[in-house]
Amino acid sequence: MAMTLAEKIFKSHLRDEPFPGTKALAIDVVLCHEITTPIAINDLAARGKDRVFDPEKIKAVIDHVTPAKDSKTAQQGKILRDWAKRQNIRDFFDIGRNGVCHAIFPEKGFIRPGYTVIMGDSHTCTHGAFGAFAAGVGTTDLEVGILKGVCAFREPKTIRINISGAMPEGVYAKDVILKIIKELTVNGATDCVMEFHGSVVKGMSMESRMTLCNMAIEAGGTSGVCMPDEVTVDYLWPFISSDYKDKKAGLEDFKKWWSDEGCEYVKVIEINVSGMEPQVTYGYKPDEVKNISEIEGAPVDQVYIGSCTNGRLEDLRAAAQYLKGRQIAPGVRGIVSPATPKIFREADEEGLIKIFMDAGFCVTNPTCGACLGMSNGVLAPGEVCASTTNRNFNGRMGKGGMVHLMSPAVAAVTALEGKIADPRKFRREGI
């Protein structure tokens, strides 16, 4: 029978079907951060079950508030740190080595095609970019994942999204996913996997695919997925080269996860990017999206470039090419947070950090920080932030603050102007 990628992963990982329609899957990787995991750790300890199913399959990072900003966040970090030590979790990333979870875990090669991945974080869908079934869960699911290596799901349906056309200058993966969310609405993909296909996706880097999959949850999607191909093999090669005779053999193996011809989709959506404008959100929901020409000129107080959506090297490059040799507008606060230490180092070696600093940006360490309004750039009531993150909920970056979501390119030129600006009207500099 023809199956989708998600159905194949469900079939190969099925541990049990405790009730019709509910599938308990064996989990390949359980990812943890210091916000949602400490309560699970404490609860397990209180139940006399301070154990992990497999320390090799658990990866942990302190990323949301790091360095700790107060004694409460210090305590959260400490609970995770002590636990990682106690349970022999070797892949634990603490200060100096830590970065935003959905950027650092793929960068370390932990995510592979066909894997099942859970984390106590809604943007776990990001990892579907590798052809994995990756889903955000709550603390209880995380707790069971840690203890048993199992998680139960309703088998998701799949929505196929074909993305074709030629990407116009100034338009990036972020613009494409914003447009898709606008079309699907914030619950258009609930209980569904969003499968991204088409020439545009094939031409995208892993970074761009992660941007695409990162925001699947903003349409309610369980996971975003891309078929693992040559680009996936190239990205993962440093980690898998001993498993395969050559890249071709790796690709052949990855192909077994591809959705079959004739498999069942609940919906097929066609998106043609030719002639598309950069996209920006305007309200408090991620499906409230406008063409840039409809919102250009709206003033902002702060510009934030970073997060699991757009804090990767290609995002910093996209912004820097507009910032080089220019200054951000007086009165605008620019903040850039490279998502991992590796990205930070590479951005530094390429001269991007200097470009940001010369332009007047504050460069922070890798952290979620301002994205969820916990540190490093919290808004005051009434303030507006142009942001490359993924959520524009009311108060998301600080009580009473407002967020416009956009690509790093739009964010960069918005910083130059102090109001939402169109990157297509700016000359790009070689970097």
Partner: protein, 174 residues
């Protein structure tokens, strides 16, 4: 098993997200108890005040589509639990929130839009909802008026409620 039913709090808006249910600034808490005073603190809803007398002692929330969207934080069901609210009734839920509710042994009941409309007729007259968990039915009442509805939950979700949550269920089984 938890107890279900009682006075109703109506949240008359779709797409209420978990940041509105419990803002990120309280995620530094590591006890559920500390969340209690902050329920729905950032909710954007005209005229709604979680601390108003008519919202005190509510045990059931009635709301609209896509409730609990956004962040996966289980702090959202927990803040309800800490305020003795063990049931949310909506026309639809975001996946993670719905699962989190059942994983905590709480009830997330989906009803068709038309039934939700009928429940909202009781919005301004002080209502209570009684739930017959064995029969999958619920009754809303106010004074002499009442309406009954039946709902469906999966066998798995029912088992989680009966077991008191997913940790108990999974631990016994896997």
């Amino acid at each position: 098993m938890k107890s279900f039913g009682g006075k109703v709090m109506f949240l008359d808006r779709a797409n209420i997200n978990t940041d509105e249910i419990i803002p990120a600034r309280y995620l530094t808490e590591i006890s559920k108890e500390a969340l209690r005073p902050h329920m729905l603190e950032d909710l954007q809803l005209d005229g709604f005040d979680p601390k108003a007398p008519n919202n005190q002692d509510a045990k059931v929330i009635v709301t609209r589509a896509n409730f609990g969207c956004g962040s996966s934080r289980e702090h959202a069901p927990w803040v309800f639990e800490m305020n003795n609210i063990n049931v949310v009734i909506a026309s639809s839920f975001a996946r993670i929130f719905r699962q989190n509710m059942f994983n905590c042994g709480m009830l997330a009941i989906e009803l068709p839009e038309a039934d939700i409309e009928k429940l909202f007729r009781y919005k301004n007259i002080g209502a209570r909802i009684d739930i017959d968990f064995d029969k999958n039915s619920l009754t809303i009442s106010s004074g002499k008026e009442s309406d009954a509805f039946s709902y469906r939950i999966s066998g798995f979700d029912r088992a989680l409620v009966e077991a008191g949550g997913w940790v108990e269920f999974a631990d016994a089984k896997y």
